[in-house]
């Protein structure tokens, strides 16, 4: 029994931080979501009005939720596939592999603020590098970020540029698959494809699962690129949830409304994550 208290001591730094910097602000923000609050004057309680307004009377709320879901549905699976594929390649034994790994990882560590500006240039419809290259191939490129039909797709494509972080997790996962498994399969006469399908893939499901969860959380909080490159436009086609929330809070000084939005986001993210967790026993393989 002595031990049980010891555990709390060990996790106490997190517990203290959690109570002070998460739980407390968390409950305050619940309260704020039932208030009108402009940051500076004291909050005024207004009941469920913020929520009522959001659900029944705010087309931008639904638009931003829809945009965010759309982004998540495409960017998360594409990101997983791209990262996994790259990791398989980067796991091969080849001279100079560390250079390649660095090359693919680089975009991940470069601050988004800096890269977003670079991308705005590269994607410039008339003088950008992208359409210049496409022009060589005889393709007339679209107005990537300023065309409402293309802006969202462009952001999804751009997200693949930053998969370096998850590539590393896949690489780490691949390194952890015991060689003995492959050797056993090989002696059973399994070909390269069969080995990939029956050993690599199942053994990698925990990492895929991890990236799926992190990807979903990240997609719901997607903000910086849209904030810098499109400001939600053209015509609200890239108005992401977190961006609209930011506008509501810091541009329109509607903190109560924004708190309600943040709460709805939290519930949506938690529910989605829970659903994914429920399915995970069916497809995630834990070794041994």
């Amino acid at each position: 029994m002595k031990r049980s208290y010891l555990g709390y001591w060990f996790i106490s730094p997190w517990l203290v931080g959690f109570l002070a910097l998460t739980v407390l602000p968390f409950f305050i923000s619940i309260y704020l979501s039932f208030c009108r609050y402009d940051v500076v004057s004291p909050p005024v309680f207004i009941g469920v009005q913020n929520y009522a307004e959001l659900f029944s009377n705010d087309p931008l709320f639904w638009k931003s939720l829809q945009n965010t879901l759309l982004y998540a549905v495409f960017a998360v699976p594409l990101g997983i596939a791209t990262a996994f594929g790259l990791a398989l390649l980067l796991n091969l034994e080849l001279r100079g592999m560390s250079v390649y790994r660095t090359l693919f990882f680089l975009p991940h560590i470069v601050p988004t603020v800096a890269t977003s500006v670079v991308f705005m240039w590269i994607l410039n419809p008339q003088i950008g590098l992208m359409n210049s290259v496409l022009g060589l191939l005889g393709v007339a490129g679209p107005a990537w970020l300023s065309d409402p039909r293309w802006a969202m797709r462009t952001l999804v494509l751009m997200s693949l540029w930053g998969v370096g972080g998850s590539v590393i997790t896949y690489l780490a996962g691949l390194k952890d698959i015991p060689i003995s498994l492959y050797e056993a399969a090989r002696s059973d006469g399994a070909g390269a494809f069969a080995r990939a399908l029956h050993i690599t893939l199942p053994m990698m499901t925990p990492v895929i699962f991890f990236n799926l969860i992190m990807g979903i959380i990240g997609a719901f909080q997607y903000f910086t690129q849209a904030y810098i490159m499109t400001q939600g436009g053209p015509q609200d086609s890239t108005l992401f949830y977190a961006l609209y929330l930011f506008y509501r809070s810091w541009r329109y000084l509607d903190m109560g409304y924004a708190s309600a939005m943040a709460w709805i986001l939290f519930v949506v993210v938690t529910l989605t994550t829970l659903v994914v967790f429920k399915t995970h026993r069916k497809w995630v393989h834990y070794g041994d």
Binding site: G17, F26, S29
Partner: protein
């Protein structure tokens, strides 16, 4: 396609692989090359002049001519670069220390000690990662202000000492893969849990510690929002904030802006290149028992 495969590809296969990897790498590297290329261009090389829709930005003009090296000293002269660098490095140092040590202690608690509600608390910690930062931002800010921390480095450093959920997660997974026998042996010899953590577990966990240290370093290096909210004194600004300042104000000086960005990311690239292997090692979530 198997890791540690004993069958090495032939010379032809290797050449093919290099080709594939190089082709794939192009889109990942080109923007950075473009950044560097623009950093070395005069403004006149960046924009099209009257009568041409095609620009100097086109592929054919990727290599600047003449090289405008002066963008670098110009950019460094515009902001007090050394002051910002000093502040950034100081914050990085404190945060790395705080985050790694506190997360290790917490992770050890979750990995090796049994207590009521452990699983629940762990899930709760993971769940906080899903909490949008916007939810807690205002109350947190109010809290720090009440404590009188506004305008100091404290709001930017103290939170790191409460353990970082993502690091706790990584470290816990790593600690779980370490064999119990060693710590059991130590325990029998009368070592406390604290001693086991410091003398046995941590020395075996250097890769994951290094990984978390790197992540924290990157996070602090790139953080611009924190300094934006809490710092009011140019003496205390950081590089990321300086870069942001540069961006919103030098909107049109593209050469200088890109030179500043290049300077900003250079240290991270060097750091990652040096630590690349440890990094991958450290992320291993399950650890090999082979």
């Amino acid at each position: 396609m198997t890791p540690h495969s004993s069958s090495q590809p032939g010379a032809l296969g290797r050449a093919g692989l290099h080709l594939v990897l190089l082709l794939l790498a192009i889109p990942y590297v080109l923007p950075l090359i473009w950044m560097l290329s623009t950093a070395l261009k005069e403004d006149s090389q960046i924009f099209p002049r009257e009568g041409s829709a095609q620009s100097a930005l086109a592929l054919s003009n990727l290599i600047p001519n003449p090289l405008a090296w002066h963008n670098f000293p110009d950019a460094m002269a515009t902001v007090p670069f050394v002051t910002y660098l000093r502040n950034t490095l100081l914050l990085c140092f404190i945060n790395v220390l705080g985050a790694v040590l506190s997360s290790a202690v917490v992770a050890y608690g979750f990995a090796r000690l049994r207590f009521r509600g452990r699983e629940f608390l762990f899930m709760l910690m993971i769940a906080t990662m899903a909490l949008p930062g916007q939810v807690t931002m205002i109350p947190t800010f109010a809290l720090y202000s009440k404590l009188g921390w506004y305008g100091t480095f404290l709001p930017l450093t103290v939170p790191a000492f409460f353990g970082v959920p993502f690091f706790v997660f990584l470290m816990r997974q790593f600690f779980l893969t370490l064999p119990l026998e060693l710590s059991e042996a130590a325990r029998i010899e009368g070592a406390t849990e604290w001693q086991i953590l410091w003398r046995i577990v941590l020395p075996l966990s250097k890769p994951v510690l290094a990984t978390c240290a790197l992540f924290q370093f990157l996070g602090t290096w790139n953080d611009f929002f924190g300094p934006l909210l809490y710092i009011n004194d140019p003496e205390k600004y950081t590089l990321a904030y300086g870069l942001q300042q540069f961006m919103s104000s030098y909107g049109g000086k593209w050469g200088q802006l890109m030179a500043a960005s290049t300077l900003f990311i250079l240290p991270i690239i060097v750091l990652f290149f040096a630590a690349q292997k440890t990094f991958i090692q450290g992320i291993a979530t399950t650890g090999s028992k082979a």
